[in-house]
Amino acid sequence: MSFSKEEIAQRIAKEIKDGYYVNLGIGIPTLVANYIPKGINVVLQSENGLLGMGPFPFEGEEDADLINAGKQTITTLPGSSIFDSAMSFGMIRAQKVDLTILGAMEVSENGDIANWKIPGKMVKGMGGAMDLVASAKNIIVAMQHVNKAGESKLLPKCTLPLTGVNCIKKIVTELAVLDILPGGGFKLLERAPGVSVEFIRQSTLGRLVVEGEIPEMRVD
């Protein structure tokens, strides 16, 4: 049984450690905020200029001046701070943010990522993604293992325009948890419950490295 989006988010939440400053991208990464383990103190950074992002407001308490990078109405938590866009990317560039979690269209076996443009089709722009991937010391990608056409998104080389090179460390998909090896290659760490290593191999176009028994992903 492959993982749902919520379960991918839940599995990634286990990577978050006490005292971390974390930037969450749009999509599955946003869901990670719902699963941060109890007893762990984490500060969420929103790159439009906020540290200490809280949950959505209650109805009637929305504030047009208080949004996150996905333009959603949000709240602040005790201890939060507001700053301008230059400082926001200053703290990202200076590696003050411990962990960045973002989505991707493609990841290559040497850690390149493509997630901002489909030539001739989609021209939404990179937003803060290029700054984040170029500077973050730890990046986890949350994404589907294969696209809607059934093609692998874990490739020997990205086919879409790149967002960053040689920067991704870990990937969590509906099928597996994988590390990018320093010399290249997707190292299989965990598989979704009931999903075989062989199935993951068939779904991974890039070089898959399998060593020993591969445990099942757990989200509890």
């Binding site: 200029g49 407001p57 001046d65 333009k71 021209v123 722009g125 990179m126 170029a134």
Partner: protein, 233 residues
């Protein structure tokens, strides 16, 4: 104290003419200079180069200027909320320079700090790096990016005083302070304009030296793009 107050948006933008380069503050629709955008739409100036993180939505913000074909070139980081923009771009009617958000902010900062250029790792190895100088510092590659050169910067603040000092509210701060520093002429519209001396100097985000014209705006719509709420317990 130098008095920077003008009567309103129309007077503030009176010398903005065809072909100039404008910076417009805001992130999405949050903290955008609504009054000045309306005045620019009414004035119908065209062939503008606009530097702004986003391009508004179809019927609000910079989207209103795009609809009238007032914009020749857009310099932004993310434009995904505007279908008319995407259409003009794919059809080649609009020139667009998409650049990383941190690069956009820091090129504003450099202009306001009197620095000609910055080095940033954002975009190294991607099509953003094409034609740009690369320098290696301590084993890591960085792109040379130039400070922006904008004729006007138009920003929105929460409070301002007659000396041009500005205070922003919540995340509507975003690009406004760095753009305010970067314009050759900076225009600030504020929700509440007070006399010089009424604001605590310790609380000022943008010193008045960067602001050339200021006025109290009116009828702010402050449209919300994504109204997200949680259920009451």
């Amino acid at each position: 104290m130098i008095n920077k107050v003008v009567s309103g948006a129309e007077e503030a933008i009176k010398d903005i003419s065809d072909g100039v380069t404008l910076m417009l503050g805001g992130f999405g629709l949050c903290g955008i200079p609504e009054n000045c955008i309306t005045a620019l739409v009414d004035k119908k100036v065209k062939n503008l180069t606009c530097i702004s993180n986003n391009a508004g939505v179809d019927d609000f913000g910079i989207g209103l200027m795009l609809k009238q074909r007032q914009v020749k070139k857009m310099i932004s980081s993310y434009v995904g909320e505007n279908a008319e923009f995407e259409r003009q771009l794919l059809s080649g009617e609009l020139e667009v320079d998409l650049i990383p958000q941190g690069t956009l902010a820091t090129r504003c900062l450099a202009a306001g700090y009197g620095m000609p250029a910055i080095f940033t790792p954002a975009g190294v190895g991607t099509e953003v790096a094409q034609g740009k100088e690369v320098r290696n510092f301590d084993g890591k590659d960085y792109l040379l990016e130039y400070a922006f050169d904008a004729d006007f910067a138009i920003v929105k603040a929460w409070k301002g005083d007659t000396a041009g000092n500005l205070i922003f509210r919540s995340t509507s701060r975003n690009f406004n302070p760095v753009m305010a520093m970067a314009g050759k002429i900076t225009i600030a519209e504020v929700e509440e304009l007070v006399e010089a001396g009424a604001l605590d100097p310790d609380h000022i985000h943008t010193p008045g030296i960067y602001v050339h014209r200021i006025f109290q705006g009116k009828d702010y719509e402050k449209r919300i793009e994504q109204r997200t709420i949680r259920k009451a317990q």
